[in-house]
Amino acid sequence: MNPRSLDALFNEDPDDLSEEETLIIMDALRKDRERFAAEPESKPKKASPVATVPKPKKVSASSTLSVDDLDI
């Protein structure tokens, strides 16, 4: 009997999984661990040293102040 693929095992009622099939799942999940551990942790991006100041928006006479504007 050919061993079932990981994908097939994942879609199998787990009550029907044999001990060997559980080990296959386990080993398949372990495979990428070392590769991932060797990857550097992504750091948050640093702000650009040259800050850019957005141009002020034109405020129309009819615009209203939102509640957030008052929250200082």
């Binding site: 879609n11 009622d13 787990p14 999984l17 386990m26 999940l29 372990r30 990428d32 991932f36 990857e39």
Partner: protein, 321 residues
């Protein structure tokens, strides 16, 4: 909010007073944490038990993660080796994430937290801590100190003489170099850096666990060890952090809790739990934000439409994930 509504809402909930309707007597860290965060959120989610119809993927993932690691801890304690206990854990995870009724696996639309990343996180975590110097404490009854339920008298009382209890569940009690620690496991999508660890001191849940460990097990508890898992799409990263408390900090938390209990009685007597409208956006947004944003006269209708009820009785169910 009337006393009749409160009596009906808590009729089957053993954690609530029968003398003062709406007053909780048995407090787990979820109840107390929610109460501190926003009394109205507490009123809706704990007292009435409302929750969004779709259970949060974070909650499901966290519950499974805890249950599977607990199965591993028990298997190891029974004398199985790492490989055998891991096999028990994997099988447990497969069963828990299988929907028997529908005949298919748990379907999550979250790319970080799903069946595959759950199983992978469990296997990787257990391999990383295979030779963990933290050893599970053996209780006096010979059982492992894993998934421990606790309940004890806080010594605080309400105005009619009923005693407040503190209760909850600890993941694991462990010993390393003759020092005792409470071990808690967390999963997150966020980077586990200094900012992540800062959230645990001060922290209501960790303080209550630490306090409980000290009182219930009468051991020189150093504090909490947090095993954090950063669950990403391509892998899971683990880090271990420590949240210590000294006796002065414990006394301060205990004193503050007494004041919170006074407040809980005051709200119950007034049949009113005010909103803390400064916390609506915290932790990714309160699930009741849409309800509280509507007029009080239509809120019940909206709750019935989009939410479902469950009983939050900390004397019966597991509290924290």
């Amino acid at each position: 909010m009337t006393p009749d509504i409160l009596i009906e809402a808590t009729r089957l909930n053993t954690a609530f007073s029968t003398l003062i309707p709406g007053l909780q007597l048995a407090w787990d860290s979820t109840s107390m944490g929610t109460f501190k965060e926003c009394p109205r959120k507490y009123y809706l989610s704990i007292l009435h038990g409302w929750q969004p119809r779709a259970m949060s993927v974070h909650l499901i993932f966290g519950l499974h993660y805890h249950s599977v690691l607990e199965a591993y801890d028990h298997a190891k304690f029974r004398g199985l080796n790492h490989q055998q206990a891991m096999s028990v854990a994997v099988k447990t995870a497969m069963v828990l994430t299988w929907d028997k009724k529908l005949g298919r696996p748990w379907m999550s639309d979250d790319k970080y937290k799903n069946r595959l990343t759950l199983l992978r996180s469990i296997v990787w975590y257990l391999d990383q801590f295979e030779n963990d110097p933290m050893q599970t404490v053996r209780l006096a009854n010979g059982k492992p100190a894993v998934e421990l339920s606790f309940r004890f008298n806080s010594t605080y009382q309400n105005s009619v003489g009923e005693t407040y209890l503190l209760c909850g569940h600890l993941d694991r009690l462990a010993e390393m170099n003759s020092q005792f620690w409470i071990l808690d496991r967390k999963t997150t999508k966020n980077q586990i850096d200094e900012r992540y660890w800062r959230q645990f001191s001060p922290n209501n849940q960790m303080s209550q666990y630490d306090f409980a460990g000290k009182v219930v097990y009468n051991l020189p508890i150093q504090g909490i060890i947090i095993d954090a898992a950063q669950v990403l799409i391509t892998g899971t990263r683990f880090k271990r952090g420590f949240a210590t408390r000294d006796d002065d900090q414990r006394n301060e938390w205990y004193h503050d809790m007494g004041l919170q209990l006074d407040l809980a009685e005051r709200y119950a007597k007034a049949c009113y739990w005010p909103m803390n409208d400064k916390s609506c956006g915290n932790f990714g947004g309160c699930p009741f934000q849409d309800i509280c944003g509507k007029s009080p006269k239509v809120r019940d209708q909206w709750l019935k439409g989009a939410y479902t009820k469950r009983l939050w009785d900390p004397l019966q169910v597991r509290g924290d994930i």
